[in-house]
Every structure is written in C-alpha cells, then in structure tokens.
Amino acid sequence: MPRIVEDEKGVSLLIEYLILMGVMSVFVVVMSLQLHETLTESQVSRVMENQFADVASQVSAIYTDYILLMPSEGQIVTRISMLPEIGNRQYNLKMDLYENVGYVHLSSGSIESYMGLGYKKFLRTGGVIEIRPGGEVLSSKAESKDQPKVVYKKEEACPFVPKIRVSFDPSSVEFNNFTNMTVSFENEITEPVIWRIDFWNGSSLSDVSYGGVYRTQIQITDITGCTQKPSSSNDYLCTVTAKAWIHNRVSCNSSVNNTLLVSTTPKLSNPYLVYEKWIEPNLVRRGEPFEVHLKLEGRGFVVEGLANLSVVHVIDVSGSMIWPTIFKDYKKTVTPNVISRTITLNEKGNLEIYAYTTDSLPSWYNSTLCKCSNKCPVGYDSSLIKLYVNGTEASTVYQDGSAIGKRYTNKNAPNGDYTIEVVAAAPEQINITLKVVFKGKEILNETVPYSNYVVESFTLPGGVNYKFLAIYNITNLPSLSYTQWNSSWNRIEYYTVDGQPRYWEYTSRLCGSSAFSQGTLNVWLILPDGSKDFLMKGSGSAWYQARNNYGINGIYADVFIVDPRVGEYRFVIVPISKNPVTFQATALIKRIDAAKLAGITFNSMLGEKDFVGLTNFTTDAQRIAVNSSPLRFMTTDKSFVNNLINQMRAELATDHADGLYYGSRVFPVWNEGGNNCTDCIKDTRPLLIMLTDGEPTICNSNNDPNKYYGCFADCSNCTGGSWCEPCKNQALCIANYLKNFKINDFNVSICTIGFSTDISGQGQQFLRQLASLRPDNNEPCYFFATTSDELVNAYKTIFNAFQIAAKNISVQEAVNVSIISPFDFIDARVVSSKGSPVSITVESRNESTVIRLNMSSIQKDEVVELILKLKAKDEAPTGEYDVNIDSESYIEYTVLDYRGQESGRITLPIISDKDKVRIVTGDQPEIIIR
C-alpha cells in the first residue's frame, strides 16, 4: 500500500487533535443553540402561562365575589399575591372592558393571557349599575410594601336629604306630665322616607313618611338614660335622636337631637341653654353646598310664684287717641301671567291669530258688584282677553258663539318669527284657546288652563270691637267718572266728654251719569263673610270720605267698612295687561282700637297665675275696679279686663303723672281701704305698662308731701293744649320713686310705649326717661309705635323681656374653612324664633374661619339657629371630613337663677358627633387593580 506520509505518528497526532477540536466546536455550537431554547425559553413560557392563569383566576375570583356583594355604597379592598417575577421576567397585569365584557389581561413580552369576567351591567335594588373594571399594575410591585390590590368603590350621591326635625311642646316638662312630640321635615320629600326616633330610655319609634307631619303625645314617666343637669339635683336632660333616610338610599340620611328638660320640682329649676349641632346634607358631591346648623334654645319653667307678673295697663285715652293709625301697609309689583308662543313663517301669506275663551266668570264680573250697577262692563266681555303680536296689542274683538276674545289678521304677513302673547284678567282658572291659521291652514291650536291673579291678605284679630276699617291709596283701579260726593254724612259713633261732642262720620259717591274706564288692575276685596267688593275709584279719586270733629277732617278711602267683622280680608289682584303693575294699599283703624288690640294681645300672653289691672288716664286718671275688696283693682280674669279695655274711648288732655300715680295705686300694697292685700299678689313681679300717644299737656298741682309720693307740681300754666313741663317733672319724680319701691322684693318696673308718628318729639324723650331698665338687655323699657303691628310687637317684647333664660350670650363657632381645607365659605345667617336681635361677625383666619354671635338674651323657649352655608371645593379629595374645630368653638353666657338674678358666667364647648361631612364623586362603581 502506498503511504501519504512517512512519519505516521506525527500525522496521526495532528489529525487526532484537529478532529478533536472540530468535534468540540460542533458540540459547543449545538449546546449554545439548543440549550437556551429547549432548557429555558419553552419552559419559562409554559410556567408563565400557568402563573398568569393563577393570577388571572385570583383577580377573577375576587371580581366575582365583589360584584355579588356590591354594596350600594362602600368600598372593598383585597390584596392580590403574585410572583414579582417568573423565570426572572417581570409581567404586567391589567383589567379592562371589551364590548362591555370585562377581562383580566396579563402579558410579558410576547406571552399573553386573557380571562373573561362577564358582562358589565348588574341589577340592584335602586336600579341598574354598571361596573367599570380598570387599572394596571407591574409584577415588580408585588415585592414593594403596597401590594397590588383589587378595589371596589361605589359612592352614592343623593337626590335630596330629608331634613328631619323633632320638637317638643312644651319643651320643659314636669316628671309624669305630658308633652307633644312633633316629627316633621324641613324640606320637600319627593321619595318615601323612613324615619326613626330613639328615645333616651332605649325605646324607639319609626315610620315611613311621604312628607307629612307626625304628632304624638308622650308622658314622661321614665327618665332612665337622661343626664342629670349639672348643679341641680332635680333637673334631667332627656335626649331623643331623630334619623331619617330615603327608602333604599340609607346613606342619604340626616339626624338631629332634641333635648327635653324634665324636672321633678320645676319650682326650683333654673333657666339655662341647650344647643345642638348638625350638618345637612352630610353627603355631598364635589362643588355642592351644605349647611352647618347650630341651634341654641332657652329652657326653663315659669311656674307657681316668682316668675309670674302683676301687670297694670296704664292706657292713655286722651282725645287724640280717636285718630286713625296704620293697621297694614302694602306695596308690591304684580307680574301678569302671560301665555307666550313664537311661530315662524317661511313664506308670506294670510295670517290669522285668535285668542279666546268659552268660559265665563259671573261671580267676578257682575253688574251687582259694580259700584254703579250696569255702568261697569256687564258679565263678561272681550276686554277680558288681551292679545299681543310682536309686542303690539291687537284689539279687534272676536266673538263666535260662546267663544269670546281677540283676533289678529294680516292678509299678507311677511315671513319671519311672530311672538304671540295672551293675557286675560282671570281671577280664577279658565281655559284659553290660542289658534293660528296661516293660508287657511291651522298651524297652531292649543287650549291651556290659565289663571292670572295674586292674593294679598290681612287679618283683623278678634277681641276688639273696631269702629271702622278704612283702606286707602290703592292705585291703578278702574274708575267711574262724573261721580259726585253724597252731601249727607253717616254717623259712625257719637259721644260727649264734659259736654264736648266726639264723633266719626263718613260719606260716599253718587253714581250720576257715570262712565266706566279701565285701570291696569282689577282688585276685589273679599270680606271675612266671603262677600266680594269690586274696588273702583270715583272720578279718579277715592270712593269714600270720612272725618271726625277732633282734628281729622277728611280721610279718602277706597274701602270704608263700619264695625268691620274680625277675620281675614283678602285682596284678589288681577293685572289686565301684559305689563307688571304696582299694587299698593294702606289699611287704617282708630288708634284707640289699636291700643285695645295691643293690650288684649298682651293679656292673652299672660299665664293664668298672672294678675292684671287697668288704669286709663287723660286729664285725670282713673283706676278701674276689676275685682272685689280687698283686691279691687287686680284680677287673674283676663277676659273681664279685656271687656273693660274694649269700652275705653278717647277723651281729653294728657296727664302722665296722674296716670303713673294711679297706675301704681292699683297694686294693693298701700294699705288703703278695700285695696290692701299684698299677699293676694304674693311672689309676683310688679310691672306698669304705660301706653300713650301724646305729650304731657296738663297736671294736678300738688304741694302735699303725702300725695303723689311727695312729688310736687305747680300746674297753673298747663292748659291742656300744649307741652306741660311740670307734669313731666312730676311724672319723672313718681317714676323714680316707683323704680326704687319694692313689691315682693322686686322693684316696680315701668315700661312705656309711645304710640304716635313723630319719634323725635320731646314726648318720646320723656317716655324713655320714665321707663326702667329691661331685665333682658338693660335698655330702657321704652318702645315707639306708629302702626298697630308695631304696637302689638312692643307689648310682646315687653312680655318676653320678663321671660329670659340666659343673658349676654356670645357664641364662637370655628369651622375648617381655609385655603388648605376642602371647604369654601358661602354665607352665614342667624334667625331667632322670637325675632330678638343677634349680631353676627365672620372672621377668616389662615387655618380656620370663625363665626361669632352676640345676643343680649335668650328667652325661655326661644330658638336661635345659626346656619352656615359651606361648599365642598371642586377639587376636594373625596372622603369624610370634620367641618368644625371643636377646640375653638364654644358658647358663653350669663346664668340666671329662678328669680331672674344673674349668677355667674359659664362657658360650654360646642362638641358634636354629627359635624362630619362626606365628599363623594357619585360615580358609577368601579373595580380597579392598583
């Protein structure tokens, strides 16, 4: 065999080496190609799929459980556990919707996996809800401290929040006695509301309300759970909680507390303050407003003894009391109810517009209602309806059978818009038809129920026999021309004083050849007996005229009623054109009648244990016997006194000194025969109320130290016609004596009321000096009244001034409103149930806003409510927030004992568990991964 090389060994070694290397390299190449692929890639991808399936299943399971719990409102959070990385790869988890079907998606590079969750909408009590799945998270988050979570979130926003109120009458009860509980709602209830009252002793009461008021009487026999009032062994504060929520919307709720004062021995119970604070609504969307309520209430008892009054009315019956005074005064703009339609014509052509009605109103438009029968538009004519086309009135009468109204025609109306307005003088509902015909084709034909009137009313309270009621300067009425005054006058009243006659008389117009002319208003006055009076002018001026022989020689009235019935008087006011019109009217009664009314009203406020006496004064004063010896001039029988008040009449000049003196002599404490019985009015508090309309004009000279409490006077220059200084001085002297004189160790209090037209007169100055200081605010107990209302209010104020529960109250309320807080301040207002004045200041600091209230006093059963309007900022984060800064909020007031004596000042912090508000988005629910 031939050989290629000689030295075989060397060759073989070389070849061997080469081959070896070759094989190695192949091996390495294969290794590197194969291994990674087969041993890692394919493996990891499978493992990933499985892990993905695991995580997806987890999320899906949680999702399923969520939607099957799905609280109407609330939040569920669940942690997901997932491997931070699979085969050292991270991956991504997310939830989303595909064609309204939710799904979970996991992905890492090219490896993906999906898991369906099902259709997104669900039924729930209160409607359909739509789940919004979403959110995304990276696996690496799994090892961070906030693990990935699945979160369900649903926040409810309310259509309204039922503002429940619970109140007690009386709010202070003796143990074992009864009180009336009233449950009501402050706002309109548009959906059924469930309410529940929890009583102090654990019992509760609950019902469904559709907006009505619920009343019940409860007897206080169980005070378990009531808190004993600090520093008084026999008073208990019993609290009820009232809660209300919309049926099926529990989170739309509100609750208030009310405290009932229960005393085992009310006689020794000191008056005091209770407060209650809450927020309404306590659930708002961003940007929505809400209210913070702080309610202060004066509590206490007026029972046997100390707090009772012995009142003497000292009423001026001088001549000028015969004059008239304003009883009510109206001025308001009446806006007509206008039917307005717009039609558009695309081409020009024949346009006809009809506005008519087929109804008729005989009870309103009727010749017998007319001051001059058959001079007014009889029954019912076309003047009732007014038609305006593009603002201009179309006055053509349209009448067709029973249809009557107005019509507008335009043979070739240009194309464009036409505004049609219809007004009818309809004091009750009628049907009005509006018809539009264009080119013989009806393009509009509608019949709408329509009425067009405003009602104003006032009430003449009972108890007084009013001599007359006159109403004057009513404007814009229709008028009858050529109406002369009737020359014969009718007497209303006539009497003589010291031979001088005193009388009132009135006359009215005669119809003559009168002609009717429309005004811009039709006004009917509906009397308490239901009869209507269609008001008109005569010759453009008033229809009636009245006068007396003591300075008033002509008041011109549109209505004049002699011996008017008590009850409600209603004006029905109908504008007859499309323009707003002013209605005004002024009602008058006699001053003396107003005075009687005021006095009687005051008496009606008194309790049955209060005593009343009566003195009237003019040139001389006289006490009026209302009872029998030894207590001749005082009684607890108010109605008897009221009758006497009713018989008073205006007489002569004015002697305040005499009035005051005899007023004080009414008290049975001066050991005088037949009127000497201090014990009869034991424990009561003496009060003199002097009502006068004038200035001192006369007095009785006195230099006897035993008369007029030693107040001298030389009255030689006082004639009764003009200002009488000696009378003033004497009166002040007497007043001064009385103020320092004690009955039942109360100083005699004097309150004065100036009933006139000129507050600046020196008479008023004098009255102010006469008055003693009010117990509630230490101001002079003096009032000025021009109208009957003011007079009545003056008396009410006097009454209340002797009923106070606390003095010098100052409230500081700090709310969490600032740049950083989630709330904005809108406004603050405060209201007192008895109209007592409250000063309010708002100060915004950089971390809070402080509201301060100041009141001189709060009376028993007076409710003072502070209402702060706040708003959740638009960007406010959702969640629950404290609105108040309790540490800075407090009430401070002067405490009174049961004798009305001041006994120190106390401060109570304002703390409430109901002063939280929750801000929500009110969105559909979402289930998200985060």
């Binding site: 073989s12 499978r46 399936a53 399971a61 459980d65 939710g102 898991m115 969750l117 909408k121």
Partner: protein, 204 residues
C-alpha cells in the same frame, strides 16, 4: 496506524455523548412544565356557577329574550330569583329563568352570545374559548324535570378530556316533579323547599 484508530475511538465516544444529550434535551420539555389548564377551568367553573346561582342576570327581563333577539341584545344570564324589594334571593333559582337559559343554550347562535357575555370567549383578543355545560340534578343525582321535561342539561357536549365541574346546592321557586328525597322510607322535601344540585362543567 494504531494511533489513527485511537482518535476515531474518541470521536465515537464524544458523538454518543452528544447525541444522547441532544435526545434528552429534546424530550425534556415533555418532562418539564406542562400547561396547567385546570387553574383556568377551575376558576371559570366557580365563576359561572356563582354568577348563575347568586345573580339574577341582566337585564331584569333577560329571560324574555327570544332566540332571534339574542344576537342583538346585550344580556347576561343569571338564574337567581330577584325581588324588587329585598333584592337577590341567593341560591333560589327561578324555573322560568332556567327554562330560558336552556332555550338559549340550545340555539347555536345564542349559545355563542351566552358564552361571550359570561366571559368564556375572548378569542377575538387572543384568549382561550371555553366550552361549558350546565345541568340541574336532584339530590339522588337524576336530572330535575318540570312537567315531565328535563329542566336543564344543556351546553356543549361533554368530552372525555380534562373537564372541571363545580356543584352548587340550590332550591327552585316552583315545585319540580322530582325534587323530593326519600328519608327513612317517606318522601319529603328538605326544609319545605325543592332542593336541587346545579352542576357547571367547563373545559377547553
């Protein structure tokens, strides 16, 4: 001469090693991680059964959907009785709904809609399509009949491969033919209710 042989020898050894290894490497995957469908299946079975038993479905009148409307309407079957006042009555199935469900599952287009709205078909996104079958049996294990017709035994045809089944115990709002059980000889109803067993099977 002999030396040459030697190297061949080595070559042989190496190649054997190499081939064995490659062989091993190639069949390893089978040995390694296999895809574990049961995880998905289990969850789906649980999910579907829960949806059916504890949810009234959507909309409130989904069971009025006829076969021709199932394509256009959006709905999700749920068999639980729904009371406007008190809400869902868990585990209390409405016969009316069951019948409707069966009807839909019988229809070839509707079953696909049901599958989609139950979230069992996300193939358009690249997910798996799950097959499922639902049946209602009484405690003895035979299908519940109502007016002598089987109430519910519908869905895809159950194969031999891996199937995950989930059971729920429910009661019907109407009295079916065979929902009583025999206890000590007498034939009674559990808790005065027509108790049955709902089986949901899911596979790929």
């Amino acid at each position: 001469m002999e030396d040459g042989k030697l190297s061949l020898d080595l070559l042989m050894g190496l190649s054997i090693f190499l081939f064995t290894f490659i062989f091993v490497a190639n069949f390893l995957p089978g040995v390694f991680a296999d895809v574990r469908n049961e995880i998905n299946l289990a969850n789906q079975a649980y999910r579907i059964s829960t949806l059916l038993v504890e949810d009234p479905g959507y909309s409130s009148s989904w069971y009025n959907i006829t076969e021709d409307r199932c394509r256009t309407e959006e709905f999700r079957p749920g068999l639980a009785v729904y009371d406007l006042e008190t809400g869902v009555k868990y585990n209390n199935l409405s016969v009316e709904k069951i019948q409707a469900f069966a009807r839909l599952l019988n229809n070839t287009t509707c079953i696909e809609r049901v599958r989609f709205y139950l979230g069992l078909n996300l193939s358009t996104l690249g997910g798996q399509v799950f097959r499922f079958n639902v049946s209602l049996k009484n405690l003895a294990g035979d299908l519940v009949t109502y007016n002598r017709s089987v109430l519910l035994n519908h869905g895809d045809k159950i194969p031999v491969t891996q199937v995950v089944r989930f059971e729920r115990i429910v009661y019907l709002d109407k009295w079916a033919d065979n929902c009583n059980v025999t206890i000590e000889g007498q034939n009674v109803a559990i808790a005065d209710r027509c108790v049955a067993k709902l089986e949901v099977s899911v596979w790929i």
